[in-house]
Symmetry: C2
Subunit: 362 residues, 2 copies
Amino acid sequence: MRAGRDGIRVSSIVMRIAVDVMGGDHGCGVVIEGAKRALLADKKITAIYLVGDKAEIHAALPPRGFRDHRVRVVHASEVLTMDDKPAAAVRRKKDSSIARAVELVHDGKADAVVSPGNTGGIFAAATFKLGRLPGVDRGGIAAVIPTPDNEFVLLDAGANIECKPIHLAHYAIMGSIYSREILGYQKPRVGILSIGTEDTKGNPLTLEAFKLCKHLDLDFVGNVEGHDLFKSKVEVVVCDGFVGNIVLKTCESLAVGIFTMLKRELTTSPHRQLGALLAQNAFRTIKRKMDPEAYGGASLLGFNGAVLKAHASARERAISSAIGITAKNLQHHVNELIVRDIARANQRLGAAGLLPPSMGDN
Amino acid sequence: MRAGRDGIRVSSIVMRIAVDVMGGDHGCGVVIEGAKRALLADKKITAIYLVGDKAEIHAALPPRGFRDHRVRVVHASEVLTMDDKPAAAVRRKKDSSIARAVELVHDGKADAVVSPGNTGGIFAAATFKLGRLPGVDRGGIAAVIPTPDNEFVLLDAGANIECKPIHLAHYAIMGSIYSREILGYQKPRVGILSIGTEDTKGNPLTLEAFKLCKHLDLDFVGNVEGHDLFKSKVEVVVCDGFVGNIVLKTCESLAVGIFTMLKRELTTSPHRQLGALLAQNAFRTIKRKMDPEAYGGASLLGFNGAVLKAHASARERAISSAIGITAKNLQHHVNELIVRDIARANQRLGAAGLLPPSMGDN
């Protein structure tokens, strides 16, 4: 073990990842195949736990020639469905695959969780069973959104519907770390999503959060508005979970809508069809760039353990990518950096008299 | 005068439209040319007031051969700029073109206002000088967003940052009337923008608004989420002005981003360039369909007078279209329908004990 960059300990890293194989749209076989690919791609992964119905998992294993010594199977008899009310279901279904996967982290047997299941369920399981990192008042969901010339982390993408200003300030810090360590932006620019760039524009939440963010050790550019999102002005966008969820889903929906129109228009005449054929690589490049699967899914930040929510519709490649991102998260000590930077931030805000009284003991 | 559809009076309609020619990005000549085209296109427009600097207007008139007897020039010595703080500036710049244009409506000399200027300024002028329609507690901005198979009215697109549930309920009614009368949807479906379709999903504002909307005489489909917006599930989407402004601008920004990527990718090889050439009509069709200028701008609903905010970057065609939409608004008695339907809604909500006490006297 040695002292590395920024004073964060750099040990030979143990990367044990619990994969909830049950929650996805395409059944456990697809998730297991994704795990297999991830292990092939990254020799440094220490272990993968396949968590779910033992019989189903074993039935899916042999035909895929998946006999890596790093694989372990952990049985769970229940599944959280998309219709389950998250918090209640996590409490009720004690033997659900997501609950068991998160417990492996809680019990020190795994370091991270990947699940394509019910987002609310994953969030509830992480909240109940892992708890939050020291100094963090609320966890958040970090989604990555591609733009023509960069990509940005949107945080919170739907976990924390009624945010306080301190939550947005913490999201700014966590998003900045995530953008740097996972996406590779050396000095990510951070903006608060609002309705105008002036510091007087916004709602009470963003106006207060603006004051807090000014005190933090960040490349804080102030407010950004919807018009700025795809103009490479920022690499981190913070907002409450209500706004973030709507923005994320609206972007996905509009992108699909535009490609639907393109496809339709490009097939209305032989001329256009030929044109589309000649230009097909251009469309493929854009689709690949805009593909949310490339980012593996959304990370839940602020919890005692790395947690990644893969798309429910994730296929093999996306699951493999989600596990790869999670391995990177562990290798880059994202959670240790969060603990350190949140402590510094709380200290700064406390010194400026800006830390809420309820957080004084952090 | 005779009783028409829905009992609304159908008289020979007087359509006198005050056009603020000063606030746009391209100078008053472009706006004046747009007004000329609108008059040519619609013989039923009674009069157009060109409001702004008299010298500039007269200088712009002759070379364009604009000698319609329905044109009047009204002098205003000041302009609200995009940097002006709206409310304060409207109060300070008493001789601004937007203030003078709105005053023409207030004084009974005009029936409607069109302006490409500062949105906040137009909203402030309408609020101070026109006041709200009976029964309406807050005005809102209705933007039209095209989708592959329909278009929806987004309301409020940025006027009312801190909404109460009753405001969303009123937006549902006003948006429904607008969608029917201006866009031609016979029975527009109305949704509340939220983070899930179940009636238990949302923030305190949307949860309460949901309860109110259930009581209204609307085709209320409940909550819609971002994923639903471009899938032709609704023709009216209601939300607070903070969320609406972010959604509107995010959509505009993402659409531009995707077309930027397309353009870039389609010019990287002769193959692709030829393909793009063959398929160029397909791209044009989509661009035309997605073009916000086609809708002329955003209407301010709930005020004593029809008010339309054109895009600041509007050119001749967009200004002409904005004036055309405004004429349609007057012909279809949108404000009379709003007054009638809001009164009915308030009565229903009052009977159910759901009208806020502050509105009991409406």
